[in-house]
């Protein structure tokens, strides 16, 4: 389980880094999305991997922490998803604006002569 999760996060992150370094703005935004997926997964598993354990309980008597998942990373990851979503959407708008104004989707706003 750990290995699969670690591999998934690693591959997502590596693909994200590669895409962010590409010259086209669409590739960059895809890369950013992959990066934020990887990070969200990463935050999620800092609460340790557990199956079939609720994060909250209303029962005030039996409080054995081993029976419950850590609720904090789950709360953090929700917030991080929302914020990441909003900022990526904002970047999308800038990307479209740049495409409209400069007529190219290069991240520098102009084509290089020797570009691929």
């Amino acid at each position: 389980m750990e290995i699969i999760l670690a591999l998934a996060i690693g591959i997502l992150f590596a693909s994200g880094v590669w895409l962010v370094l590409r010259p086209r703005s669409f590739q960059v935004i895809t890369g950013l999305l992959l990066l934020s997926y990887a990070v969200n997964l990463f935050i999620f598993i800092t609460g340790r991997i557990s199956v079939n354990k609720p994060p909250l309980t209303l029962d005030e008597t039996a409080l054995d922490p081993a029976l419950y998942a850590d609720p904090l990373p789950q709360a953090l990851v929700l917030t991080a998803i929302v914020i990441g979503f909003a900022t990526t959407a904002l970047y999308l708008v800038v990307l479209l604006g740049s495409r409209g104004l400069t007529g190219t989707d290069h991240v520098d706003g102009k084509e290089k002569e020797t570009d691929e």
């Binding site: 990463f42 935050i43 800092t46 914020i83 900022t87 604006g97």
Partner: protein
């Protein structure tokens, strides 16, 4: 301390939030009304910040911090807001700069696009929140609020240059946010807490494996903060962004880099100060050499730049580099001198940024600078000239203000820049000098020299060889913020004694980590109704 006083800590966050929300509802046609509301709120914020500084410094709280428990949950379970002298000082600086930038934007820049005032207030909310918060994840949220608002402001009155700069600025900061989150996750995995004070309590007792994880987390967090404060390999976004944004926005961006420095300062002393056991001094070497490289990069960049926007950018880089190197040196004695330098350089660079736009009007007396942006929004031409009173002796004002800015930025006597630099050098020379101290000393002189050369070249070109038949038209509302900023710098030089005493006490806040930890952790929830 739980007292009614600590409730005021929420106000610097709530006030801009509510004003920002209110301003969305007012139609853009009522520009005057929006501006007045915005300025009133920002003025109120300044009063609030000054009051907070007096309260945290004064006898009302004794030696206590103000701690506000959000939703009445005690630390480390809830989010806390912590007000000490350092936080209050940054609140005052932010509010002061915001007032000046806003006043400057009144005559034209604010009308250039939509929702300037709302974004401005949200930016202030983010800054104030980031300064006051005592919780790592909450810091992330406020950073995002601050950055989202700054994206909007950077693109304000958008043209091709701003879009291009914005693309890079946004991507760099989004990636920095990714690192921020990674760092938070690692710190939580290592120590199981996100509260600054709780972490500071836990760090000395960590097991070796966890300590390694904690250090990794802290280093990754530092990448995020140092990107904001433009340390050398991470700060390439800064010159492009600063020279593309509209002047009032750039003035606020100058402040944002200092918020990065603030976070580094606070967390470095709290987590890796003298009480941190075997983690003490972690990362100081990196900060020192990073700062020195930033300083060298800024000095070289400054020599190479002709354009006023770039001169201002590299001055900001130099100021960041100096501050980071001083933090890295980790000498407690230089702290108050460092804070003095921070205040003086921030105000001077902000004043210079505002001033450059006016100086450029010597070349282009008409409003051709704006013509490009104005087309997008189809504003009426005559309306744009309407606001404000024109001041007399514009050239004399520009020349004198430029000279004052240059003196402060280069650190020449008699203004505050000199006092700041002198006290840094004085403190450095008092202690036994290591290699880092010598490097910093030499680089500070080189940076000062390149600032003199660069600013003199710019001044000679602007004022002595300017062959205009008529002096530019300056509005009162454009000249007064610059004058105000410079007056603050001048009074900093005159009142250097009392100010230094205050800054000594501020530095003490940083050094007494155990006091911070105890007071935050021991603040009890307010019991309501009948006590049992």
């Amino acid at each position: 301390m739980t007292s009614m006083l600590s409730e005021i800590l929420v106000l610097p966050i709530l006030l801009p939030l509510l004003t920002g929300a209110l301003l969305v509802l007012v139609n853009e046609r009522h520009h005057q009304l929006k501006y007045v509301l915005n300025q009133l709120s920002t003025l109120l914020l300044l009063v609030l910040a000054c009051w907070l500084l007096i309260v945290t410094d004064g006898p009302a709280t004794g030696d206590d911090l103000l701690v506000y428990l959000a939703a009445n949950w005690v630390a480390p379970f809830g989010i806390v807001l912590v007000g000490d002298r350092l936080a209050s000082l940054f609140l005052v600086l932010a509010a002061l700069l915001a007032n000046c930038a806003l006043l400057f934007s009144y005559s034209r820049w604010a009308k250039l696009g939509v929702h300037f005032h709302t974004l401005f207030q949200l930016l202030l909310m983010g800054i104030n929140g980031a300064v006051l918060t005592g919780d790592l994840f909450n810091l992330f949220v406020f950073f995002e609020v601050m950055l989202a608002a700054s994206y909007g402001l950077l693109l304000h009155g958008y043209n091709i240059t701003r879009i291009r700069a914005g693309m890079q600025y946004i991507v760099v900061n989004l990636i920095a946010s990714v690192f921020f989150l990674l760092g938070i996750a690692l710190v939580y995995a290592a120590a199981g807490s996100l509260n600054f004070a709780d972490l500071a309590r836990l760090i000395p007792e960590l097991a070796p494996a966890q300590r390694q994880l904690m250090h990794t987390g802290a280093a990754i967090l530092a990448v995020a903060f140092l990107t904001k404060s433009a340390m050398w390999p991470l700060g390439f976004w800064l010159p492009t962004t600063y020279s593309a944004a509209s002047p009032p926005v750039t003035a606020m961006l100058v402040l944002l880099t200092k918020i990065g420095v603030y976070v580094v300062l606070r967390l470095n002393y709290l987590w890796f100060g003298d009480t941190a056991g075997s983690s003490a001094g972690f990362g100081n070497t990196m900060l020192l050499y990073g700062g020195l490289l930033t300083l060298a990069f800024g000095a070289i960049g400054l020599l190479a730049s002709q354009d006023p926007g770039r001169i201002a950018s590299y001055s900001a880089v130099i100021s960041s580099g100096t501050l980071l190197a001083l933090i890295g040196l980790g000498q407690d004695l230089t702290l108050s001198a460092m804070l003095f330098y921070l205040l003086s350089s921030t105000l001077a660079v902000a004043a210079f940024v505002l001033l450059t736009e006016l100086i450029e009007r010597i070349y282009t007396p008409t409003d051709s600078v704006l013509a490009l942006s104005m087309e997008f929004f189809a504003l009426d031409g005559e309306k744009e000239e309407s606001a404000g009173v024109v001041i007399p002796a514009a050239m004399a004002f520009l020349g004198l203000a430029f000279a004052a800015c240059a003196l402060i930025m280069a650190g020449l006597p008699p203004l505050s820049g000199f006092i700041a630099k002198f006290s840094i050098l004085h403190q450095l020379l008092q202690t036994p000098m290591g290699r880092g101290d010598w490097a910093l000393l030499v680089l500070l002189f080189i940076a000062g020299l390149s600032a003199i050369i660069s600013l003199m070249r710019f001044g000679v070109r602007s004022f002595w060889t300017a062959h205009t038949s008529q002096s530019p038209r300056l509005k009162f509302s454009e000249a007064s913020p610059i004058l105000l900023l410079l007056l603050v710098c001048i009074s900093m030089a005159i009142l250097a004694g009392p100010l230094s005493a205050l800054l000594e006490r501020v530095a003490d806040d940083l050094l007494q980590t155990s006091r911070y930890i105890e007071q935050v952790m021991q603040t009890i929830a307010i019991s309501r109704g009948a006590n049992e």
